[in-house]
Symmetry: C2
Subunit: 470 residues, 2 copies
């Protein structure tokens, strides 16, 4: 039993002629086994399995071009796939189609230490990139949690824990190379760190979830590995007191690198899971990057601000082993939360609001969840105003899914009413499509649809995602 129903889209069968052409062109790289199709027929969302008719494993950009051209010839859907970690049904071939697995397009093409950029193929994961950078003194900061591919992270405009300091994929992609729906290859920009040269095709493809082009390569910004890192954990009497601390920290210009809120229930989950003994209360996890003196100054500033807001039990650590112990609770929070209700499945939400509205948004959401009896820990990247709720539902109880969906819908509506967005970092996929018009208006939705029609006139690239065709 799955939580969510798929939109009603007619599914095109794979034309026999295209099947033959795929077999001829891709040989063993084209697979149609049920196991492979199933492995590419689900992501981390709660939608039912939706299998592609076949999977092509590309190893070169040329293969991607050839595949797109074949699909274009038959006006047949094509879904690009990185690590399969997206959360909103982005990857499900609801109209039928071939899934293009890019995970073997995994070469690091160039590292330019002086320019602090790396150019990689789309299937390189963030961990693989950071492993390759280990000895350069540089690193790639964006960390959405999962070891996603950089192509996938670009396509969903991913961010994560340290976006508060380093920005999101929107800010950190210098250019992409993408195969458009007509099989043409575009490199959207050069390697300069800024440009005013025409429409921002880079930013158009970042976040387009594979609906406007298939990213095969990208250049990303790198940052100096911080000379010093310090971590801190501090507990608050209320969510609002924690948020007040975050707001003031940012207003003081403290360049905090991570700034995570775990609500009381999440802390309880963590204590049970990780044998920690944190007081069950809203708690901020912080990380500071800089020079040793700079980091010490940041910590002192935040400590003063936190104390004023009622923060207590301020623990901090600079040694790597102490830091990782301190952050263990945050890193294991997802699994810890799942353990709150063994056998449960987590429905993960994602909204982002102006930080001045964040306390109000979280408090109202907790009040909304309360009467439902649903366990729903909240944690988030509060420096950005972004947070998630994990609603723990029993997969055998359809009513719980409906309950969770209703709470989630109200949360999105609440976020929009507070000048926020229906998704801070997960993307639209299938699940957030109903909210996009409320967010960008009918004119905004029409503009997005016009762009889709212009760049993918046959509707072959991940059809039925972000905006409906008509």
């Amino acid at each position: 039993m799955s939580a969510l129903s798929l939109p009603e889209v007619s599914r095109r069968p794979l034309p026999a002629e295209l099947l033959a052409a795929l077999q001829t062109r891709f040989g063993a790289q084209f697979v149609t086994s049920h196991a492979q199709r199933l492995a590419h027929g689900r992501d981390e969302s709660a939608y039912p399995d939706t299998l592609p008719d076949g999977v092509v494993y590309a190893t070169t950009g040329k293969e991607v071009v050839d595949l797109v051209k074949l699909c274009a010839d038959f006006a047949y859907p094509l879904v690009a796939w990185g690590a399969g970690t997206s959360l909103e049904g982005h990857l499900l071939p609801i109209a039928g189609g071939i899934t293009l697995d890019l995970s073997q397009l995994n070469q690091i093409l160039a590292i330019h230490p002086e320019d602090m950029t790396a150019t990689v193929q789309a299937g390189v994961t963030r961990e693989a990139l950071n492993a390759a950078l280990a000895h350069t003194g540089l690193f790639f900061p964006i960390d959405p949690g999962a070891n996603a591919t950089l192509g996938g992270m670009a396509s969903t405009r991913a961010s994560g824990t340290n976006a508060v300091r380093y920005g999101t994929m929107r800010d950190n992609v210098v250019n992409v190379t993408a195969v458009l729906a007509n099989g043409e290859v575009v490199q959207t920009g050069q390697r300069a760190r800024k440009s005013s040269a025409g429409y921002d095709l880079t930013r158009l493809l970042v976040g387009a979830e594979g609906t406007l082009g298939i990213i095969t390569e990208l250049t990303v910004k790198l940052y100096p590995q911080p000379e010093a890192i310090s971590a801190a954990v501090v507990r608050f009497p209320s969510v609002s007191a924690a948020i007040a601390t975050v707001i003031q920290t940012i207003q003081l210009g403290v360049p905090v690198a991570r700034c995570e809120l775990l609500d009381q229930l999440t802390i309880e989950a963590v204590n049970a899971h990780s044998q920690t003994t944190l007081e069950p209360a809203p708690t901020l996890f912080l990380e500071f990057h800089g020079s040793p003196a700079g980091v010490a100054e940041q910590v002192a500033q935040v400590q003063a601000v936190a104390q004023e807001a009622g923060g207590a039990d301020f623990q901090w650590a600079t040694r790597p082993e102490d830091r990782s112990k301190l952050w263990k609770a945050r890193h294991h929070a997802y699994f810890a939360c799942l353990q709150l209700r063994p056998g449960a499945r987590a429905i993960t939400t994602d909204v982002c609001v102006p930080i001045s509205r964040l306390g109000e948004c979280i408090e109202a959401t907790l009040a909304d969840v309360g009467p439902s009896g649903l366990m729903a820990p909240i944690l988030g990247h509060v420096g950005d105003g972004n947070f998630h709720m994990l609603m723990l539902v029993d997969p055998a109880q359809p009513a719980e899914y409906s309950l969770a969906e209703a709470i989630s819908a109200r949360l999105v509506e609440r976020a929009l009413a507070l000048e926020g967005t229906c998704t801070g970092e997960h993307g639209v996929g299938l699940h957030k499509m109903p909210y996009l018009e409320a967010e960008v208006g009918s004119a905004g939705l029409a503009a997005m649809r016009a762009i889709k029609h212009a760049l993918d006139p046959k509707n072959i690239l991940n059809p039925g995602k972000i905006v409906s065709w008509a």
Copy 2:
């Protein structure tokens, strides 16, 4: 005599029926006097005067909607105008048309100190915004030199001296409200600091130079006014030595706020103009923002790096009056350079390359200019890899214009060959159109054209800019 010839585009006369409709709808806000048309028939480029058929001064968003709808009814061109400070011919109504002057759309709509955002009408200038922010503890950092309007700065994806730390308009526009070519109004996003909600319409309109929509309002990011500011000037034996210092400074993670290079000729110009006694040599002007201790640390780090690269005569200042004295040379550089050759007109270039290629690009450009005998001081935002050359030509000598244009063309080709862009911050306008295909390829140009066709099917919004229609 003007330097540059306009592209051959047939100019549509103003239909009598539209003229009547404009008079009816806009009364005294619609002007057709030669003086007003002339004032809106030139920007800071070297193109010949190109007058609109009339000027509408809008004071409300509704008026913009009505004007766009009228122009759409007659498929008649419309050019949005902010402060008229663009440099590449962006504002010239080459196909005829009405110019929409947005300078009276100048209300600051909201300042949200906790969220560090301001929402303004498009005609608000950056200086007006900063004046309004003076007592909030916040400021808007982007400074392209001219006191441009924020709508204009967004439309050209402007940046300037402190983009190295604070980013460009691309990074600092949270959302825009724009009137599309069909008269529909789109607000491209909410006020959350990040979003993954569909195609990035904000970034599509930022840098679109009024060709896809007319920005009437925008929300921008603000930053804490730095607690401490320090400025420094340091001289180098060569451009490359100065660049090496910049590269290492950035690799160390020093969050330098401004980082400007003035070449030897610029320093000579400044000495003559501002009665300074700087040694004539490539010189870096730096500014540091932070806490007092943080700024002191930054200065010490950069001083050490600069000395290693042969930097000499390191002067620094923290008191406002000393800082402004130190920066005087940079602030007056443009006028100082013009004085190198009284009566001359400056043709200003703008390229941006990866910083590792910057020394090579500047040295090769100096070598290229040398034999021409043209005076052409170079200065730039070198922390970003962005620089300008002011070629001083005698307006009475067409041959000098041709010479300058040829040097400028070679500079752009050089920048592109070095993985750079044809424009780092000025935009495409008319002048950089010939280079766009070399930069983004035929597929990239075709994609831009497809977007233009999709969003402005009658080609009424600033037609003939960025990409040609066919």
